[in-house]
């Protein structure tokens, strides 16, 4: 069967890019398989674990269940867009400093949820931090160090 492709255009980590996609592709797969950015992880593939979190027009979204077409013409930021000019984002540094990374699989998603929160609200309360990352599952750390790392940047 002939599948029609669509030229998807997004501003990805500040740069305009185009990819030929199948209209039924999910954004996470387009980012990983068509645009080569494998920092975005796929865990549950059903919008539960948050490993695939990216920032779409300023808001954290689960990219594994987001039709890529929804991102057409929009700004997308992935974990690859956090470090600037060889300098880690303060959140990335805080995750390292506080030992908030163990196996690391959830880390890109957590960083993007935290970044979206801090971009909107630079001084969140602990409850607001917990609320913002409640959709990111981590099976290693028990969350304490993750919350501490975000708090370190939020202060």
């Amino acid at each position: 069967m002939n599948k029609k492709t669509y030229p998807l255009t997004v501003t990805l980590n500040g740069q305009k890019v185009t990819a030929e996609i199948d209209p039924s592709d999910m954004l996470a797969y387009v980012l990983r398989d068509k645009l080569g950015l494998t920092g975005t992880k796929i865990g549950c593939d059903e919008g539960e674990c948050g490993a695939c979190t990216v920032i779409l027009d300023g808001q954290a979204v689960d990219s594994c269940i987001l039709p890529a077409m929804k991102a057409d013409g929009c700004e997308v930021m992935t974990v690859e867009g956090l470090a600037k000019g060889g300098e880690l984002d303060p959140l990335q540094q805080a995750f390292i400093d506080k030992g908030a990374v163990q196996c690391g699989y959830c880390t890109p998603g957590l960083l993007m949820s935290a970044r979206a929160l801090l971009d909107e609200n630079p001084h969140p309360s602990e409850q607001e931090i917990k609320d913002a990352v409640a959709g990111n599952l981590c099976r290693c750390t028990g969350y304490t160090k993750i919350i501490e790392a975000i708090k370190k940047v939020a202060r």
Partner: protein
């Protein structure tokens, strides 16, 4: 999976696109339920018509006493809206309990209604507010009581291959009225409710009796449920701990929850109906006495 994905610019265009595809296209809003249903093979369509770029569907507006919420308004928008928090608290609280931040940023109120789950938080909040829904199709638009949209678990009476749910509207609560949403789940995010209850009440001028009340519950019936006997009992009843406890008993008697392997047994849900209805009424009453902050 679908082969085409379209963004209509208006409701009329969306309806025309659906008509053109003659049953083979389906509407999509946030897609947080729908994409999973496609992945599980429960749905099929050749084309998706995405309504989330239609400006009028993304607005929360107030005209006089009526609040209108566009069907593509996200749970995040509801959660953040001062108007909804103050004048339709039950809906703001319900919105906050949905999924996770990532889901609330995408999932829409209209999608929640059309997904037609008996414990849909958005629908339970709306039912407590006595909401109406506007449906558009090739014949035009019309307002219907919300309860007329639910067919069976997961099945809406709205035909998403031909019709568009465009808006939900309800009366803004005044200073002598209050509402609240109670929810019990295995965790506080990304968990469907074991039981959820929306309450809205209006009190007499002296604050001593209920003038009216609405109590929504889920999942206690095949569709999003309103406890009408409980509501009737409360009209004219004294505002007291005894009345609110009795309301919980009556709500239990008119509900029929089932056992769920994943969430809770019927017996536990029955016990919790009494607790959630009482707590919801207490909090809704407390909000009536709280002064409204500046609008």
């Amino acid at each position: 999976m679908w082969k085409e994905y379209l963004f209509p610019a208006s409701v009329e265009e969306a309806v025309a696109m659906l008509a053109q595809w003659d049953g083979r296209a389906r509407l999509i809003a946030g897609g947080t339920d729908l994409v999973l249903e496609f992945n599980e093979g429960k749905r099929e369509a050749d084309c998706l018509v995405d309504i989330t770029r239609i400006p009028e569907l993304k607005e929360i507006t107030q005209q006089g006493d009526t609040i209108t919420v566009g069907a593509a308004v996200t749970f995040r928008q509801l959660d953040d809206s001062l108007l909804i928090r103050q004048r339709a608290t039950v809906l703001a609280e319900a919105a906050h309990t949905v999924g996770s931040r990532q889901i609330r940023n995408v999932a829409t109120l209209g999608g929640n209604v059309v997904s037609a789950l008996p414990a849909a938080d958005g629908s339970l909040g709306l039912r407590a507010l006595g909401a109406e829904a506007e449906v558009a199709d090739i014949q035009g638009r019309r307002w219907l009581p919300l309860e007329e949209l639910f067919e069976s678990p997961g099945q809406s009476k709205i035909d998403a291959s031909a019709q568009v749910l465009t808006a939900l509207r309800f009366k803004a609560l005044s200073s002598r009225e209050g509402s609240a949403y109670e929810r019990l789940a295995r965790r506080r995010a990304l968990a469907l409710p074991i039981l959820a209850c929306g309450t809205a009440v209006g009190l007499s001028d002296d604050g001593r009796t209920f003038q009216w009340a609405r109590v929504s519950l889920g999942p206690v019936a095949p569709v999003c449920f309103c406890a009408h006997c409980t509501e009737e009992f409360l009209i004219g009843a004294e505002v007291s701990p005894e009345t609110m406890a009795r309301a919980g008993e009556i709500a239990l008697s008119e509900s029929n929850p089932r056992s769920s392997l994943l969430r809770a047994c019927k017996e536990y849900r029955q016990e919790m109906i009494k607790v959630l209805v009482r707590r919801g009424l207490e909090r809704a009453v407390a909000k009536c006495q709280a002064p409204l902050s500046a609008e």
